[in-house]
Amino acid sequence: MSPPLHVVVVGAGGQGVLTTARVLGDAALAAGCPAVVGQVHGMAQRGGSVQSPVVLGAARTPWFPPGTTDLLLALDPLEAARAAHACTPTALAIVAGRGPRLPGTPPEEDLLAAVRARVGRLVVVDLPPRARLAGPVVLGAAAAAGVLPFPGEAIRSEMVASFPAAMAEAFDLGWRAVARGDAAPAPQVGVDR
């Protein structure tokens, strides 16, 4: 039995981090893969940083030690940079969207470079300007990347069952962004856009 996959979904309060993590967990369970979903409580409310760990596989708790994150799903580059240090050197990081602007934030290129330096592979998906759909996009990208211990289509089914059509379309956007390029999760240093 393969060890459980350690996933973290991160973003700013209000972006849908918890919903994204929940959808991932529900989809996994529907596909027969046990899942546990947690919440890192800190300044999560009203625009603060939110982190939601998800363990896909047999585990009693969703908590895993820093340095063991295999998959980082980020809805904001600053939060991605904040969480990247806890990733394994072969981790896959997927970034889409941006939370509210914070004064003093380094430029996005610097943040993504910091993530790239820490993980095995970074995928960045550009979103249309007014989209509040970063969550489904990163799930679509993760599904296409082939790293999940269950078929990625299960997530799409979950979207279609519980959410308006725009969500499934966003999922497809993320999927295409990865499937278009090199979808293998081999450790690579590079950026897909």
């Binding site: 700013a12 309060g13 209000g14 849908g16 918890l18 919903t19 929940r22 967990g25 529900d26 369970l29 046990p34 899942a35 546990v36 979903v37 947690g38 919440q39 409580h41 800190g42 300044m43 999560a44 409310q45 009203r46 625009g47 603060g48 940083s49 585990a59 009693r60 708790t61 969703p62 908590w63 895993f64 030690p65 820093p66 340095g67 063991t68 600053l78 939060e79 940079a81 904040r82 240090h85 806890a86 939370g99 509210p100 602007r101 914070l102 004064p103 003093g104 934030t105 380094p106 910091a114 007014r130 509040r132 759909l133 959410f163 308006p164 725009a166 969500m167």
Partner: protein
């Protein structure tokens, strides 16, 4: 279908809180009541949705005490009941909780109290297990969502078996963890039993209470035995090392033991009931291992009880935990803490993973009020009125975030409903008004008794009820103030009516997003005594979306920045001006909307281009040193200008409204600068070029300073022994106070200028010799010779040249000047002044000061349009002079020992005047000046002629270069410049820049000096107020009022310019209301996509 109601045996991801609800439903729950609070809110949220489907009566109680009491009432009436709250709420309900342990229950009762180890969302991390022990109640502590379900289910039977309410104490890590839960079947409906209306059981008068007290031990024993036989006390593994783990850490350590393969070395007892202590399994463990580690969060509750148990039973086993330093005291235990403790306990065999590299320092995201939150507007309005001069008492809710920057409202906060009582207690001792903030939900929770108390006590207190019509922070639960459509049609309760009935007076209701009304209401109530209430009511914009049955188009249009008005320049501003927050607040509501200009009217009107907006703004914000440095950058003689400048800047400013007293501010700065260190100009590299400036008046000094600052060797020559020209020789001392010119002159010399007095060019030193000895010569000798009156009688004794007389009054006759051939006006004389310019007015006012019995000014120009200007004419009149206009002199005669001056109407200007004859003892002539061209004398007869105009001034090119004479420039009055101090300086500067260019320089302005401050100096209040009326016409104002005063997450700065994030903006319009320039406006109407999902859903 709600996931809590999933069919039995179907694996579902449930939150711990949802699992509790599932378990309670499995037990036939009949009644539930609760108050939201992180991490308990989802218990109530789930129940609210599923209760109607399950025949369960569910209440959103106004507070936890009521919820607990109502649940007990339902239990007495025969329904299995549940009360849910966070740990703080359990303490709030402490009174009924304590007696419940005595009176017991009828139908089973479970109290869900969710704890917050780590204080993620609470002001304390109290360990509720102590409350259970203190009150004689059993407490269950789940380590996983499914265990929480089973505990919730079985707790009702336990409650009935031991006749006590059972405390289910879940913590954040489990309450908010989603894990696989396999539900058991749900009964058809609630499990009901007959009501038990038995006073012997449920009315604990002391005699009965004593009997009940003696029942406690027995009840707890039953609970203990129940736990010992349940699945909630679980032992796994074997070995000589024992671990007792309870709560969330139990799951962590179980995972860790398995992951490290230590199942044969460690015997783990997972303790689901920490009180009463299930002694048998624990004693079993204690007797079979050599060491025990107790793993629990917060206080050493189990650890201490275990030590006591071991000691009581004579078991000498080593018990380790918090008391022995093996585990931290405060906060929750994450996986690293558990891993490290386990590893140490097993002697290094559990090998925790190495620490990862430290996180990079990145900006922290603080929690902020959402964009469009009406609380932001309420706080901003209160801040606008009180500023820092109030004591702010805050309370619990979304509005607690008002304490964060930049609103900074909240000095004191304690707990739910505490703000009014704390404010009332502090009020008698404060030196400033007390303002208490409370939300609508908090008001209903526990705000009414303290309000009544404050009224009864007769304190002075302003209570602001922030009514956003919902309990927002905990996830948008409806409150009694919510609109009926959010509460199944129930009418809302009127907060203002309650406040009036409790005796507050007055009570006002205002919409905080109506800025003018909000500020007005606060202002009105601020001044009144007693307990006043302001209800600031506006629906939470996010709650509106939350309660909408279908996602709809966004409500109000988002705002956008009108770049033509926004005063935040994206390029680096010239003076680095950054207005402070106090100044921004002064400008709020100025609403002086005018298009932004690159060049402000004041700067454009000033001949030397002073940045008036810059130094006025800096002075107004308390940066006097910075303001002075800016003044000195542009102006070589600022103190002089403060006294005598004709202020074209104020004329230009005054076009759009009352003019800012720019010059008065400059004068204040000059006064403040006296005695303080000077701003320092950086030294330019010496160019080796030598420039001679002839004439030490304003034109010459300004030019010389500029040339010196550009690195040239600048020498100023003047026939007089001291510099100043008209400034020190002719302008009366009561117009230019002594010392002012001297201070300015010292600065000019300190910039590197050399002064050579007593050197009269043309007479002592021929012009061509001067040119030969320098790389450039600038002549700025002024126009210091009074024109002679060309009428019969002009040479009579008693007729005097005004300039000569003024010079005489200042310092006696100057060598080389025209020697007076007559005595000057004497005390008691009747004086006629012929002329209408500055010199004429100065002479008239001098005559009055010298004791003239009557002074008449007769000018050729109309009396209302004298060249000296309206203000000068008014001053002369106010001091007692008569001013006549439109008259030309025709003759002066002697008559009867005095003079008779005759005048006739002066052409068109004299229309409507009559010829007049005025008798006088002295006639002072001030009909204009002309330059003395003596400086142009050259030794070489072949030296080119200096071209001269009809009025005697030199005819030179626009930058002052004299045609035909290479190396010679002219500036100031001698060059025909307008005859004011600042125009002379401008002329000198223009010539100096041209000279700089001609000598190989860049022809640009010299750099600004570095401020020498900060100085502790603020303008007097009236001057500060006047300075604040500056309309900041120029883009270089770097206004950031919206960013500095509001802290809205939708507003940010991108590449120096202000941006509105239209996805975040909720269109409340507060930024538009406070922007001093009207630069924030609703976007033009256009279709937009529906916004999916609530924003900022949180605990």
């Amino acid at each position: 279908m709600h996931r809590v109601l999933a069919p039995p045996g179907v694996a579902t991801l449930l939150l711990g809180n949802e699992a509790v609800v599932r378990g309670a439903l499995e037990a036939g729950l009949g009644f539930a009541a609760g108050y939201p609070g992180t991490p308990a809110s989802e218990v109530g949220d789930s129940l609210r949705q599923v209760a109607p489907l399950r025949g369960v009566v569910f209440r959103d109680s106004v507070n936890e005490k009521v919820a607990l009491e109502a649940a007990h009432g339902a239990s007495v009436a025969g329904a299995r009941s549940l009360a849910s709250m966070k740990h703080l709420g359990l303490s709030y309900a402490g009174d009924p909780l304590a007696t419940l342990g005595y009176v017991g229950v009828n139908a089973g009762m479970v109290v869900v109290a969710a704890g917050d180890p780590g204080l993620h969302t609470s002001p304390n991390e109290q360990d509720q297990r102590h409350l259970a022990r203190m009150n004689g109640l059993p407490v269950l502590d789940p380590s996983s969502p499914d265990e929480a379900r089973r505990m919730a289910r079985d707790a009702f039977a336990l409650s009935e078996a031991c006749d006590l309410p059972v405390l289910l104490r879940i913590t954040t890590a489990v309450a908010h963890c989603r894990a696989v839960v396999l539900g058991d079947p749900l009964p058809v409906g609630p499990t009901l039993r007959p009501a038990l209306l038995d006073p012997e059981r449920f009315v604990p008068i002391p005699a009965r209470a004593r009997r009940m007290r003696l029942l406690q031990e027995g009840r707890l024993d039953r609970a203990r035995r129940w736990a010992e036989g349940s699945s909630f006390v679980r032992v796994t593994g074997r070995g000589r090392l024992g671990i007792v783990a309870t709560g969330a850490p139990a799951a962590l350590v179980a995972d860790r033991i398995e992951g490290s393969g230590l199942g044969d070395a460690v015997r783990l007892l997972e303790l689901g009931m920490p009180w009463p202590l299930p002694e048998e399994p624990l004693l079993d463990l204690l007797s079979s291992v050599g060491r025990v580690l107790v793993l629990e969060e917060l206080t050493p509750f189990v650890e201490d009880a275990l030590r006591a148990l071991a000691q009581r039973r004579g078991i000498a086993v080593e018990i380790r935990g918090k008391a022995t330093g093996d585990l931290p005291g405060p906060f929750g235990y994450g996986p690293e803490v558990v891993a490290r403790a386990l590893d140490a306990f097993v002697g290094g065999r559990a090998a925790p993973p190495r620490d990862p590299p430290p996180a990079p320092p990145l900006p922290v995201r603080p929690p902020v009020l959402c964009s469009g939150c009406p609380h932001r507007a309420t706080f901003a309005a209160v801040k606008q009125v009180f500023g820092e001069k109030a004591a702010y008492f805050n309370d619990i809710g979304c509005y607690t975030l008002g304490a964060a920057a930049p609103l900074d409202v909240g000095h004191v906060l304690l707990c739910m409903g505490s703000s009014i009582a704390q404010g009332a207690g502090a009020s008698p001792f404060l030196d400033r008004p007390a303002v208490a903030f409370v939300g609508d939900s908090t008001f209903f929770h526990s705000g009414m008794p303290p309000l009544l108390d404050a009224v009864q006590a007769g304190v002075d207190l302003l209570v602001v009820v922030l009514d956003n019509r919902v309990t927002a922070m905990t996830g948008f639960q409806a409150s009694p103030a919510s609109p009926p459509s959010w509460r199944e049609g129930k009418a809302e309760t009127s907060i203002e009516a309650l406040c009036r009935d409790l005796g507050a007076d007055p009570v006002r209701v205002v919409d905080p997003l109506d800025w003018g009304a909000a500020v007005g209401a606060v202002e009105e109530l601020a001044r009144l005594p007693g307990v006043r209430v302001l209800v600031a009511r506006h629906e939470c914009p996010v709650a509106g979306k939350h309660f909408a049955s279908v996602p709809g188009p966004r409500g109000a249009r988002p705002y956008a920045v009108d770049r033509s008005r926004c005063r935040r320049c994206s390029a680096a501003p010239a003076c680095g001006l950054t207005p402070g927050r106090a100044y921004q607040r002064l400008r709020v509501g100025a609403r002086l909307a005018a298009p932004a200009a690159d060049a402000t009217p004041c700067t454009s009107a000033c001949p030397i281009g002073m940045c008036a907006q810059g130094y006025v703004s800096r002075a107004a914000t308390g940066d006097a040193a910075g303001a002075w440095a800016l003044v000195l950058r542009d102006n070589a003689l600022p103190s002089v200008c403060a006294s005598v400048c004709h202020r074209p800047c104020e004329d230009a400013c005054g076009v759009g409204g009352p003019a800012v007293p720019i010059n008065e501010i400059k004068g204040w700065l000059a006064d403040v600068a006296e005695g303080r260190p000077e701003p320092s100009f950086s030294a330019a590299a010496p160019t080796g070029r030598r420039v001679a400036v002839v004439g030490a008046g304003p034109a010459g000094l300004a030019a010389a300073r500029h040339l010196a600052l550009k690195g040239h060797e600048a020498t100023v020559l003047d026939g007089a022994p001291a510099p100043g020209g008209m400034l020190s020789q002719a302008i009366p001392a009561w117009r230019l106070p002594a010392g002012r010119f001297e201070a300015d002159c010292a600065r000019v010399l300190a910039a590197g200028v050399t002064f050579a007095g007593g050197r009269s060019v043309g007479r002592d030193l021929p012009l061509d010799a001067l040119l030969a000895g320098h790389d450039a010569v600038l002549v700025a000798t002024g126009a210091g010779r009074g024109r002679r009156l060309a009428v019969p009688g002009a040479e009579l004794r008693g007729v005097t040249d005004a300039l000569s007389w003024l010079r005489h009054l200042r310092a006696g006759p100057i060598p080389g000047g025209r020697a007076p051939s007559r005595p000057y006006p004497a005390r008691g004389d009747r004086v006629v002044v012929v002329g209408g310019g500055d010199v004429a007015i100065d002479a008239a006012r001098a005559a009055l000061r010298e004791g003239a019995s009557r002074v008449t000014v007769v000018a050729r120009e109309p009396a209302g349009r004298l060249p000296a200007g309206e203000e000068q004419a008014r001053l002369a009149r106010d001091e007692g002079a008569e001013v006549l206009g439109g008259l030309d002199p025709t003759s002066i005669k002697v008559q009867g020992g005095a003079l008779l001056a005759a005048f006739r109407p002066a052409g068109d200007a004299g229309a409507g005047t009559r010829a007049v004859e005025i008798s006088a003892d002295a006639v002072v002539v001030a009909i204009g000046q002309e330059p003395d061209l003596g400086w142009s004398t050259a030794a070489d007869p072949a030296f080119p002629q200096i071209p001269v105009s009809d009025d005697g001034t030199v005819r030179a090119g626009p930058d002052g270069a004299v045609p035909g004479v290479p190396g010679l420039w002219v500036a100031g009055d001698v060059a025909g410049a307008r005859r004011t101090v600042v125009d002379a300086m401008a002329s000198g500067l223009a010539a100096a820049r041209a000279i700089d260019r001609a000598l190989g320089g860049d022809g640009r302005a010299h750099p600004a000096p570095a401020a020498s401050g900060p100085w502790d100096a603020v303008p007097p209040p009236s001057l500060a107020r006047a300075a604040a009326t500056c309309r900041a016409c120029g883009v270089c104002a770097t206004c950031s009022a919206c960013l500095d005063l509001l802290g809205c997450p939708a507003l940010s700065e991108v590449d120096g310019a202000i941006e509105v994030d239209r996805d975040l903006c909720n269109g409340c319009g507060l930024c538009g209301a406070i922007c001093p320039h009207g630069a924030l406006i609703p976007e033009p109407d256009r279709r937009s996509l529906p916004v999916l999902g609530p924003q900022g859903v949180g605990g």
